[in-house]
């Protein structure tokens, strides 16, 4: 037997000696107390307002638009950014790739190439209003993790139908646990120097969100 296998046995033996024989695991888990709030109470409009307020609270820029206006809104945002080179996930809808910019479509781009891009445009999986969090599950339209990391400017498209109020409601929307997930709450930040919140250390320093009112 190898040393590693020995260690596993040693650690497990110690744990079992310490815990004895507890009741059946699945039954005990099912009985755990969960008295916290699962469902939100906000009506549709108030919910979106809360989402926007909390996004702005953490320095994200938010604009709203109707479903028909997405491409135009993206184009306007890109123009306003003053940037030119953008990366896009492979699955980003073609009509979102506004003309007049240098688009790098991600087909396993090298990290260096992603690093040279000035910005990135992606879709998203879910928005949690309670904490102003945007969740990416890194599907084809949300992109590999590196895309939303190296460029300094991230434009994220979030639909109002994707917004939930509470964190448990996000978990309700996961048919299966994701293998990859990144939750983003505002741009990269630090408070390591005298607890002063500074926008942007290593991740994108600018987070822009287009909230598409696709319901109501």
């Amino acid at each position: 037997m190898t040393a590693v296998a020995d260690s596993k046995q040693k650690v497990l033996d110690r744990i079992r000696a310490a815990t004895g024989k507890p009741a059946a695991t699945a039954e005990a888990y099912a009985k755990l107390e969960r008295g916290y709030t699962r469902r939100g109470e906000l009506q549709a409009d108030a919910l979106i307002e809360r989402m926007i307020e909390r996004l702005r609270d953490y320095d994200a820029e938010v604009v709203e638009c109707k479903p028909a206006e997405i491409a135009a809104t993206i184009a306007a945002q890109l123009k306003a950014s003053g940037k030119h080179v953008f990366v896009a996930p492979e699955g980003l809808p073609a009509e979102w790739l506004a003309e007049g910019f240098d688009w790098q479509i991600d087909q396993q781009l090298e990290a260096g190439a992603v690093n040279r891009a000035e910005g990135v445009v992606t879709a998203s999986f879910c928005g949690v209003a309670d904490s102003g969090t945007i969740v990416l599950h890194h599907s084809a339209s949300e992109g590999r993790r590196v895309l939303t990391l190296l460029p300094d400017w991230h434009l994220c498209i979030l639909r109002s139908s994707q917004v939930v109020e509470t964190l448990p409601e996000y978990f309700d929307r996961c048919a299966q646990p994701p293998t990859l997930a990144t939750w983003i709450s505002g741009p990269s930040a630090t408070a390591d120097i005298e607890m002063t919140r500074i926008k942007g250390v290593h991740g994108p320093r600018f987070l822009h969100v287009i909230l598409v009112r696709d319901e109501g």
Binding site: T25, A28, G35, V146, G186, D192
Partner: protein, 485 residues
């Protein structure tokens, strides 16, 4: 410029006892000011955002329940995690102690032929003193969290588990960065200092082939690992290198993905006073085309299973490392983190460190508390820290009184005499009479004792003592019975 603090020792085996280690800090006005300021800011933010949650207490109860459940079934969940993580392409290693964990890390890095490694802030790696070990083996570890860079470049030690450089102020950071990054014109604006760190590390993120992280949570159901952070340095380490090593304490596991809905609502608010930390990452083994293609998890015991065995103390392992306890602690506020002589300072350190050392070291830490209970009140997983502190104090006393050389120690001698007196009624009455007579000599007209001779003076030096009443309860009771007849 002089060092921010004389480099403190954070190895409990060699660190001086808490009261000794605390003295230099208490005399360092700048350091105390830095710590006080940082803590006031975090505390105010936390209080505001916790008040915003109407179900805070229910979340705490649920989190405590989930964590207790995991600890009771730890073997089941760890094996499940190993199985699922392995199925997803990860490689799971078990380390019984610090030396073993260090050796596993070194073997992986040697295999990768890595001479440099980038790191996300990880308490487990600090606990096993990984950096000096790697350095002595010819591998340089680059810390990437801003606070950790400040400490690494400034040759300083961490004093807090969430904001490790909170004892360093902006002008001290400027001085360190200007000197070590060779930036003569750097100002002390936090924004400019942060940008300096961004530039300093970007190339390293893109070129160094291996990274080391800790884990905030392991998910048994899926084999996933979760890391929460603010800056994005964590995401860099999790995404760019070829090889990734995660060192996780065995207690870090959660049963299901869904359980994150509880702990992640508590963690950000408790730790930094944010509704959610800027970035939370979750990954499962290896994903083709996205992120490191080799992934190792080291499950670290290093004394944890010995804590598991004890009924009262087991709750220590519920901890999710938010640091709310140290932010609320009146003792930590005065001494800062270095006095605790461990990488885990504050109230949680005062109970965790001596237990990880199995009480062979750090016996002074359970006394580094006024038992005011503020830590228990803010703890998101309801660890009753005062209760564990008392339990550990009793163990320290038991340990001491078995030592021959402490036989004539005034405290132990006194307690043995008290034990004798309380066991015999006649001895008790005699002692009462003697006490009354003796106390009369030092009791002032106002009925208080302001001064006592000898060891008693240690009490009256800082506190007054009420004089003994003329009539004892026994006297009064006996008199009352006679009068009734």
């Amino acid at each position: 410029m002089s060092a921010i603090s004389n480099r403190p020792i954070l190895d409990p085996v060699y660190a001086p006892p808490f009261p000794v280690a605390a003295l230099p800090v208490l005399r360092n006005a700048q350091l105390r000011k830095n710590v006080g300021h940082a803590i006031d800011v975090i505390q105010a933010k936390r209080a505001r955002l916790v008040a915003e949650k109407t179900d805070w207490q229910e979340l705490r109860t649920a989190a405590a329940g989930i964590r207790d459940h995991v600890l009771a079934h730890l073997d089941v969940y760890l094996e499940q995690f190993e199985e699922r993580c392995t199925a997803a392409g990860g490689q799971v290693h078990w380390a019984a102690d610090a030396a073993e964990a260090r050796r596993i890390v070194l073997e992986i890095l040697r295999e990768e032929k890595a001479s440099e490694v980038i790191k996300i802030k990880t308490m487990t790696s600090a606990e096993i003193q990984l950096n000096p070990f790697l350095e002595s083996s010819g591998i340089h570890a680059y810390e990437t969290d801003l606070a950790e860079i400040i400490l690494q470049l400034g040759e300083e030690e961490p004093s807090h588990i969430v904001v490790p450089a909170l004892h360093v102020n902006r002008s001290q950071v400027r001085e360190i960065f200007a000197r070590k990054m060779n930036l003569k014109d750097l100002s002390d604006e936090p924004k400019e200092l942060t940008a300096a760190a961004r530039n300093y590390l970007r190339q390293k993120f893109l070129s160094i082939p291996a990274a080391i992280s800790g884990a905030n949570f392991l998910v048994a159901e899926t084999g996933a690992v979760s890391v929460v952070e603010s800056e994005g340095n964590g995401r860099m380490c999790l995404t760019l290198p070829r090889t990734m090593i995660t060192i996780a304490g065995i207690e870090k596991v959660l049963p299901r993905f869904r359980d994150l809905e509880v702990v992640l609502q508590l963690l950000g608010r408790s730790a930094t006073g944010e509704r959610m930390n800027p970035y939370t990452s979750l990954w499962t083994g290896v994903t083709p085309g996205d992120g490191p293609q080799k992934f190792h998890v080291i499950l670290l015991d290093n004394g944890r299973s010995s804590i598991l065995a004890k009924k009262t103390e087991r709750q220590t392992l519920r901890c999710i490392r938010c640091a709310a306890c140290m932010n609320s602690c009146p003792v930590y506020r005065q001494t800062g983190g270095h006095a605790y002589g461990s990488v885990y300072p504050g109230p949680i350190g005062a109970i965790l460190t001596p237990q990880l050392q199995q009480l062979h070291h750090a016996q002074s830490l359970p006394y580094a508390s006024s038992l005011c209970g503020a830590c228990y009140e803010v703890c998101p997983v309801k660890i009753n820290i005062p209760e564990v502190l008392l339990q550990l104090r009793s163990q320290v006393v038991d340990q001491e009184r078995r030592q021959i050389r402490r036989f004539f120690d005034p405290m132990h001698l006194g307690l043995r005499v008290a034990n004798l007196i309380f066991s015999q009624a006649w001895l008790f009455h005699a002692a009462q009479w003697m006490g009354k007579t003796g106390a009369r000599l030092v009791t002032q007209k106002d009925g208080w004792i302001h001064w006592m001779p000898s060891v008693g003076g240690k009490w009256t030096m800082t506190r007054d003592l009420r004089g003994l009443p003329q009539q004892t309860f026994h006297d009064w009771w006996a008199g009352r019975a006679k009068g009734a007849k």
